[in-house]
């Protein structure tokens, strides 16, 4: 087994069909069902949704001092909106989960292996 990060990427300003409340609830329900399926099959390790990049703060060392600044680390139109950490036998199995997620939330998913987690 190996572990993979499925990251959900959101692109600012991409025109999206506005969802009705009903559609939103429907979509939310499908996400919950999928996460339940991941847990049942033992693939789910962790997942989370993130606040927007305007809620981000960066700390870094500068001249030996820790400097705190407002904003995301990289200013860009694309940002990490959420992620899953899953366990899967191989890339095909991880991609199968990624495909299910992208179908429901309609945003691209990057599937990336964790280093040093093969067993």
């Amino acid at each position: 087994m190996a572990q993979y990060l499925l990251s959900v990427h959101s692109v600012e300003g991409t025109p999206r069909e506005p969802m009705t409340d009903e559609e939103m609830q429907e979509s939310y329900k499908r996400v919950l069902t999928l996460e339940e399926e991941m847990k049942q099959s033992g693939a789910w390790l962790f997942s989370g949704r993130l606040h927007g990049p305007d809620a981000a703060t960066v700390v870094r060392v500068s001249d030996g001092e820790v400097l705190t600044t407002d904003g995301p680390f990289v200013e860009s139109k694309e940002h990490l909106a959420g992620f899953y950490i899953i366990e899967a036998a191989d890339l095909d199995a991880a991609l199968a989960w990624g495909s299910k997620v992208t179908r429901i939330i309609n945003a691209p998913i990057e599937v990336r292996p964790f280093a040093g987690t093969k067993s």
Binding site: A2, A89, D90, L91, D92, L95, V111, R112, P113, A115, K118
Partner: protein, 411 residues
């Protein structure tokens, strides 16, 4: 290096290249690591170069290579810690005496090569990486030969291969034949890679060996997946195109168009085999893009000249192809066939509606139609534009010559 047994270095190289794909594939299955497999087969090659010229070819060179490479790999793995761990893991899954099974080099292990080609052509890899891995691992080509075939430096190609293999390892791209429900997504890249390899060879006289390699790979996939009509379609298509390859170039290496080719030079045995496959595909009636392109080429092969070609049949096949593969390139080829049925003016209207400005056959087709309509100045400019965009020297020279040919140039 000429041995008494009459096996010279060249022969060793040839036999080795033909057999090594099978050995690499089997060793990848045994050791679960492409680099281990590749290095071991490379070592076996060095041993073969020393021994075969003196001892003669072993009775079953493929089995010899696999056994030798496997033993080398085990020796090498025993020498370092990580290797011993790997062997330990293998011992857990193989019941033998702590060593991987000794029987796998016997019997048909064709499935290994099929697994390997699906790994090499996994959609998670870039097309360039898919092509490079397939030629290197299954075709047994040296990295420098793969580099030369795709006009990049050896170090660039080596980098590309290293990166692709690293991704296969890190992301755990599986080593298995996809299940039936996965094939609609997984088979097309395999066929596309083989077709790309063929076309790279067909575009350039100096790279012609790639054509043979592509046909060899298609035969292999076709043997292993006899129930996939598109695999047969690709094989028929390649055989029919290949039958004309000798007639496509003049003795000075310049390009000869289909209409000017000496059809007596077309290779009859390849045509017969290709047409037999096309007929089998028609009976099966599950048409796909490769089968339809093969059928179009089968119609060309039936005719002894351009005027006697059944162009209506070809237009009908392009109509079908346009349904399953609605691309501007297919529309361009259909327009060329229309030009033979309804004349160049009708074809030009269709061609001018296409958005293919960066594609040299688009300009070459326009040029030909304009020439036939007597619009010489426009034809010359279109030939020049085509020559500028053509990827190979032979095509470039041909198109540039057309631009100033009598009946075209207005000077």
């Amino acid at each position: 290096m000429d041995g008494e047994a009459g096996v010279d270095q060249l022969r060793v190289e040839r036999v080795f290249r033909l057999e090594s794909g099978r050995s690499v594939a089997t060793l990848v299955r045994i050791f679960g690591d492409i680099d281990v497999a590749e290095d071991a087969v490379q070592e076996a090659f060095a041993v073969a170069l020393r021994r075969w010229p003196a001892d003669g070819l072993p009775p079953n060179p493929g089995a010899w290579i696999t056994t030798t490479a496997r033993n080398r790999a085990i020796d090498r793995l025993r020498r370092d810690t990580r290797g011993r761990e790997l062997l330990g893991e293998l011992a857990k899954v193989t019941p033998a005496d702590g060593e991987p099974e000794a029987r796998e080099e016997e019997g048909p292990v064709e499935d290994d090569r099929l697994r390997l080609i699906f790994t090499c052509c996994h959609p998670a890899l870039s097309t360039e990486a898919q092509v490079a891995l397939t030629l290197r691992l299954l075709g047994g080509l040296a990295t420098e030969d793969v580099a030369r075939a795709f006009l990049v430096s050896e170090s660039t190609m080596a980098q590309r291969l290293v990166r692709a293999k690293r991704k296969i390892n890190a992301a755990r791209i599986p080593y298995r034949v996809p299940q039936d429900h996965e094939l609609p997504e997984r088979l097309p890249p395999v066929l596309a890679v083989i077709y790309l390899i063929y076309n790279a060879g067909a575009a350039d006289l100096a790279r012609g060996e790639l054509c043979g390699e592509a046909i060899r790979l298609t035969r292999l996939v076709s043997l292993l997946m006899p129930d996939e009509p598109e695999v047969g379609g690709l094989l028929a298509l390649l055989l029919l195109i290949e039958s004309r390859r000798g007639a496509r170039f003049a003795s000075d290496g310049s390009l000869v168009l289909l209409r000017d080719q000496d059809r007596s030079c077309w290779e009859r045995s390849l045509i017969d085999e290709g047409q037999a496959i096309v007929r089998a595909c028609l009976r099966r009636d599950h048409p796909g893009p490769y089968q339809l392109q093969a059928a179009i080429n089968a119609v060309h092969a039936d005719a002894d000249s351009v005027p006697s070609t059944d162009w209506r049949q070809i237009v009908a096949l392009y109509d079908q192809l346009l349904v399953v593969a609605p691309t501007p390139v297919v529309a361009l080829n259909r327009a060329i066939a229309i030009g033979e049925v309804d004349g160049p003016a009708a074809a030009l209207v269709l061609v001018d509606a296409l958005d293919l400005n960066g594609y040299h056959p688009f300009h070459a087709t326009r040029a030909d139609l304009l020439r036939r309509l007597g619009r010489r100045g426009e034809a010359a400019r279109a030939y020049e534009r085509a020559a500028l965009l053509a990827p190979s020297a032979a095509e470039r020279d041909f198109l540039a010559a057309q631009a100033v040919a009598p009946g075209v140039s207005s000077h």
